[in-house]
């Protein structure tokens, strides 16, 4: 019982950063912008959150600083791609490289220092439900935000007028402009939201997952988040499923490696990627639904013809 609970707990911890980063990128891509800089924004969020926590002593101030760091990088990306109309793919890749480099520089003197772990917030009554009580209601703030963000984004995209406009811009920015919808401003906001989510994902890594700073500690999670968005065919609930599946198989294979089943460890390490791709490909095999959800103007620059 204790062990099961502990394992489930590690799964949520592993899944949360992926979920946050992917949900943010989902909103960005729904607006028609492809930001490949997720990895860079995560790692910047991680280092700034850690350093700010060390300097201020407050994990919440630290996490907030991480969010701001993600936003700052996103703002740079938005200015380049939306205002200066640079190529989104190249700019995103550059953002990742920039983030990895700058984060190493900022965190140079903090490598290996013991950090402060974010406390859990126990919700009374609910947390005493057997098995899932502790898992869902005795967690850190970032976990709660990540779950809330899935349902919040889903509600926003499919139930509100602003969400409808955002999807419309992603489907056809030319038509949206012709209707008087402010394409560039909406995209700026979407990219900033994506940056905030990625920054928070980074803060989770350096304040919850492993409370310390290690260079390149994002370890490719930004790329997995990007893949999750595509394989989840831009649906928030599928991103939730995908992120948790990935987290579960990651933790599961670690335990399997420890037990030593005689399966090559390289195969086990690859398993989370394979399992997630297979499952998401299967759930998105309805081509019509996938096509309906794919933002048709994804990655295309927009210049209003005035």
């Amino acid at each position: 019982m204790e062990l099961t609970e502990a394992i489930l707990f590690t799964i949520t911890t592993a899944a949360t950063p992926l979920l946050l980063a992917a949900i943010g990128e989902l909103v960005v891509e729904r607006s028609g912008v492809l930001n490949l800089g997720v990895e860079g924004m995560i790692v910047m969020g991680a280092v700034v959150a850690f350093v700010a926590t060390e300097l201020s002593g407050s994990v919440y101030l630290g996490a907030f600083s991480g969010v701001l760091a993600g936003c700052a990088l996103a703002l740079l990306f938005a200015f380049m791609t939306l205002t200066l109309v640079t190529n989104q793919v190249a700019t995103g890749l550059a953002l990742t490289i920039l983030g990895l480099g700058v984060s190493g520089m900022i965190g140079e003197n903090f490598v290996g220092q013991p950090g402060i772990k974010m406390d859990t917030i126990t919700i009374p009554v609910l947390s005493s439900i057997p098995l899932i009580g502790k898992l869902l209601f005795d967690q850190d703030l970032i976990f709660y935000i990540s779950i809330f963000s899935v349902f919040g984004v889903s509600w926003f995209l499919f139930r509100t007028r602003a969400g409808l406009k955002l999807r419309a811009i992603g489907d056809s920015h030319g038509s949206a402009h012709a209707l008087g919808i402010t394409v560039i401003r909406t995209r700026y906001l979407a990219v900033l939201f994506g940056g905030a989510c990625a920054g928070l994902a980074g803060a989770q890594l350096s304040l919850v997952y492993t409370p310390q700073w290690v260079e390149n500690m994002s370890a490719g999670r930004g790329w997995i988040a990007l893949a999750l968005v595509v394989f989840a065919s831009w649906r928030p609930l599928r991103v939730l499923a995908g992120a948790y599946l990935f987290g579960a198989v990651t933790i599961g294979q670690l335990h399997a490696q420890a037990l030593g089943f005689g399966i090559p460890s390289q195969f086990l390490s690859a398993l989370p990627y394979l399992a997630t791709i297979v499952v998401l490909v299967i759930i998105s095999r309805n081509k019509r639904l996938t096509l309906m959800n794919t933002p048709a103007s994804l990655g295309q620059s927009f210049v209003p013809d005035r």
Binding site: S172, S175, A176, R306
Partner: protein, 524 residues
């Protein structure tokens, strides 16, 4: 230019000296226009005459370089579509500004400024569409709808904003004749309510039928302001084109016995969820015959072209035969080597590479079928530049392609001139079978008549020609037999002399999105 601060108050919309420059090009040069209330006002002009530029300025999506706009006598600056709507101007676009992935109700909700729930909009849209005879299902996804139905969404969406002036950009180019009649009824109802319509078109019969006044543009300049009913089609055409358009002569050559192109029970599944599946298509084209394939856009025209040309191969080899040879599994080059030629629909990016020169574009199409003429031997197959340039020059002269420079890039030519070159590139080979898709789409009248004449001449020399076109006038002008494609199925070809617009309209599926029972009633 005199300056007045107030306009004529009896006019709903008045435009004085409106000018738009794109770099050096004067897309609109000092245009004057007056639209009164309860008036259907035509804006006539050829492609590229500046009609779209003018209405974009009226709708706030382009900024005028100079000139004044008066709305109900007051000088206004329209800086955004939202502001145009607030004034009371609505617009139905030619290339629809609809979102394919969204539902009809969501699409309508997006253009409403006030906050209304989507359910509320569905209800109001249903009531309004019924009132104006424009049947619509608010919960359908736009991607699943026919072009005619999409236009209805645009019109309902515009009407919901209760505008005083509605701008319609080439509305009938995507409709069956029956759907067009229905649209005219809707427009007359709109006029009877005291609203005005600015009706953009290049179809003279329509303008004479429903419009009260007409403003004519040519090369960005105003060339006429008249009552279209007092004019003749010829006089209107002269204002539009500037000279008399040479009419096409179709003497109807001898039709031989030999079948040169054949499709037997040809079926092909849809490649994407939004594409059309071809169902049991039968077609045979004999020597000297031109079969015109009519149909509303998006009913399988490009899919049919792809299987005939070999862009899309099919499993059954005898599904398509060229010159008696089964070619279903052959690629484009193999079919070309059998003497066939193909001209696909889009000029830029499909029929020609915009950034390459004309001569390069010619080699790209003919590098296999005319390898001996353009390539020298050896494993490297070096391009014989001289021969290529010479052939390119021959085509340019033959088709009267107007261009600047010796061998310019394809993108520097106007649509009509590039289209003449692309058609000429195939004709230069004297193909025994020619399949063309939308040969004169978006092409000026002069170029269109030149291309049509060339197709007729080719058939008279004994070739088999298939012309896939949305333009019924074109079909009647060139075709010896006419077939209609609707939802991926092709009707049997009937002699052009026996075909009527009404019959073609019914074969096109009558009015899309209505109960089939009512279509039956129309048929009898």
């Amino acid at each position: 230019m005199s300056h007045h601060d107030t306009g004529d108050e009896s006019c709903l919309l008045e435009v004085r000296g409106l000018t738009k420059m794109f770099g050096e090009l004067r897309a609109n040069d000092g245009i004057d226009l007056e639209i009164r209330s309860s008036e259907i006002h035509a804006l006539l002009g050829e492609n590229g005459a500046g009609k779209s530029t003018l209405v974009k300025m009226l709708f706030g999506s382009l900024e005028p370089t100079a000139g004044q706009i008066f709305w109900k006598g007051k000088s206004v600056q329209i800086t955004s579509p939202g502001q145009a709507r607030a004034l009371g101007i609505g617009m139905v676009f030619q290339h629809f500004s609809l979102f394919e992935a969204l539902t009809v109700a969501e699409n309508i909700a997006l253009s409403m400024d006030q906050d209304v729930t989507i359910e509320g909009i569905s209800e109001r849209a249903a009531v309004l569409s019924h009132e104006y005879g424009l049947p619509l299902d608010p919960n359908a996804h736009v991607a699943d709808l026919s072009v005619g139905e999409r236009q209805r969404i645009e019109i309902v969406r515009t009407l919901l904003q209760n505008p005083e002036l509605i701008i319609l950009d080439e509305p009938t180019s995507v409709l069956t004749p029956q759907e067009a009649d229905k649209l005219f009824e809707t427009l007359e109802k709109i006029r009877s309510e005291g609203r005005s319509v600015l009706y953009i078109s290049h179809r003279l019969e329509e303008v004479q039928r429903i419009c009260d006044r007409a403003t004519v543009l040519r090369h960005g300049k105003l060339t006429g302001d008249c009552d279209p009913r007092a004019e003749t089609p010829a006089s209107l055409a002269r204002m539009m084109v500037g000279s008399d358009v040479k009419s096409v002569s179709n003497t109807g050559g001898k039709i031989g016995e030999k079948i040169l192109l054949e499709a037997n029970d040809l079926s092909a599944p849809a490649r994407t969820p939004f594409a059309v599946a071809l169902e049991n298509i039968n077609l045979s084209v004999r020597q000297g015959e031109i079969i015109g394939i009519a149909g509303v856009a998006g009913n399988g025209q490009s899919e049919l072209f792809d299987v005939l040309s070999g862009e899309e191969r099919i499993a059954r080899d005898d599904g398509v035969k060229i010159n008696g040879t089964p070619v279903g599994r052959m690629g484009i080059s193999a079919r070309r080597l059998l003497g066939a030629g193909f001209v696909p629909e889009e000029r830029h990016g499909h029929a020609a590479v915009s950034e390459m020169t004309l001569s390069d574009n010619m080699v790209l199409a003919r590098h296999r079928s005319d390898a001996s003429a353009f390539l020298s031997g050896g494993p490297l197959k070096v391009i014989r530049h001289g021969a290529v340039l010479q052939a390119s020059k021959r085509i340019i002269e033959e088709m009267d392609v107007r261009k600047s420079g010796e061998d310019p890039e394809a993108s520097s030519l106007s649509g009509g001139n590039l289209q003449k070159f692309i058609v000429g590139r195939e004709l230069d080979r004297q193909p025994t079978v020619l399949v063309v898709n939308q040969p004169t789409w978006g092409v000026d009248a002069g170029a269109a008549s030149r291309i049509r004449q060339a197709l007729i001449d080719l058939a008279e020399q004994g070739s088999a020609v298939v012309v896939i076109s949305q333009d019924l006038d074109e079909i009647f002008e060139v075709a010896t037999s006419i077939a209609v494609i609707n939802e991926g199925a092709l009707s049997a070809a009937e002699p052009a002399t026996d075909m009527t617009l009404e019959r073609i309209g019914l074969l096109m599926g009558g009015i899309h999105g209505e109960e089939p029972a009512r279509e039956e009633a129309h048929a009898h």
